[in-house]
């Protein structure tokens, strides 16, 4: 049973297109996250939702828009894709939000390549 699942695993598309990545967790956690991992493997938080409410919104271009239809799902929509958006995007979840001491559980990532 996959705890945090992301689709698609690979995404290859042209510059200027719009694409979405979906994430679902079956752990019953109340908090979900999106991270971007660049080519140097540096991990950067993008967004976090707690019980469907946005709680962390880092300095991310407004072409990126997260949506959480319920606390088990967190999707990421990207408009007008640019070359610099090429990266691996990870979804994660945890219990207890910002003051919790529980670790995050990560999906296996979505590898986005912009041509």
């Amino acid at each position: 049973d996959t705890a945090v699942s992301q689709t698609p695993k690979y995404l290859v598309t042209q510059m200027g297109n719009d694409k979405s990545i979906k994430c679902e967790q079956n752990l019953g956690h109340d908090t979900m996250y999106w991270y971007k991992q660049d080519s140097k493997k540096f991990l950067k938080i993008m967004f976090s939702y707690n019980n469907k409410e946005l709680i962390i919104n880092e300095t991310v271009p407004n072409r990126f828009s997260p949506k959480s239809p319920d606390k088990a799902h967190l999707n990421l929509h990207i408009n007008s894709l640019e070359l610099g958006d090429s990266a691996v995007y990870f979804c994660a979840s945890s219990q207890g939000g910002g003051q919790g001491n529980q670790p995050q559980h990560f999906g296996d990532g979505t590898r986005l390549s912009i041509l």
Binding site: V4, K40, K41, F42, L43, I45, S48, N50, I55, I56, E58, F90, A92, G97, G98, Q99, N101, P103, Q104, H105, F106, G107, D108, G109
Partner: protein, 115 residues
């Protein structure tokens, strides 16, 4: 503001030898500290955490870490490394006094274990 540093980009060790991966942190109060491991084309996997109590914490796959408050360090250790321990290791810190605070990840340390 919280921060975490992993001073070594790569650690090389022979199989059977002790393995140490270094991590230092900076937070305003008492930190929550975590170690994760990432295998190629996979998401991060939780290894262990320090919240409070005993400074030596034990985790998955024979790993342990020692919290040292005076040196603001949380080094990851394994007494006898295996080739299968070759992976990318991340240290992360969270400041529990920061409401809805984010996990701050280090830049990662690549561990290479040679037979």
């Amino acid at each position: 503001a919280q921060s975490v540093a992993q001073p070594e980009d790569q650690v090389n060790v022979a199989e059977g030898n002790p393995l140490t991966v270094k991590c230092t942190y900076s937070v305003s109060g008492n930190p929550y500290l975590f170690w994760y491991v990432q295998y190629p084309n996979r998401g991060l996997q939780f290894l262990l955490k320090y919240i409070t109590g005993d400074n030596l914490v034990k985790g998955s796959y024979g790993f342990e870490a020692e919290f040292n408050k005076s040196q603001t360090s949380f080094h990851l250790k394994k007494p006898s490394a295996l080739v299968s321990d070759s992976a990318l290791y991340f240290c992360a810190v969270r400041d529990p006094s920061d409401s809805w605070g984010k996990f701050q990840f280090g830049a990662g340390t690549q561990v290479v274990v040679t037979p």
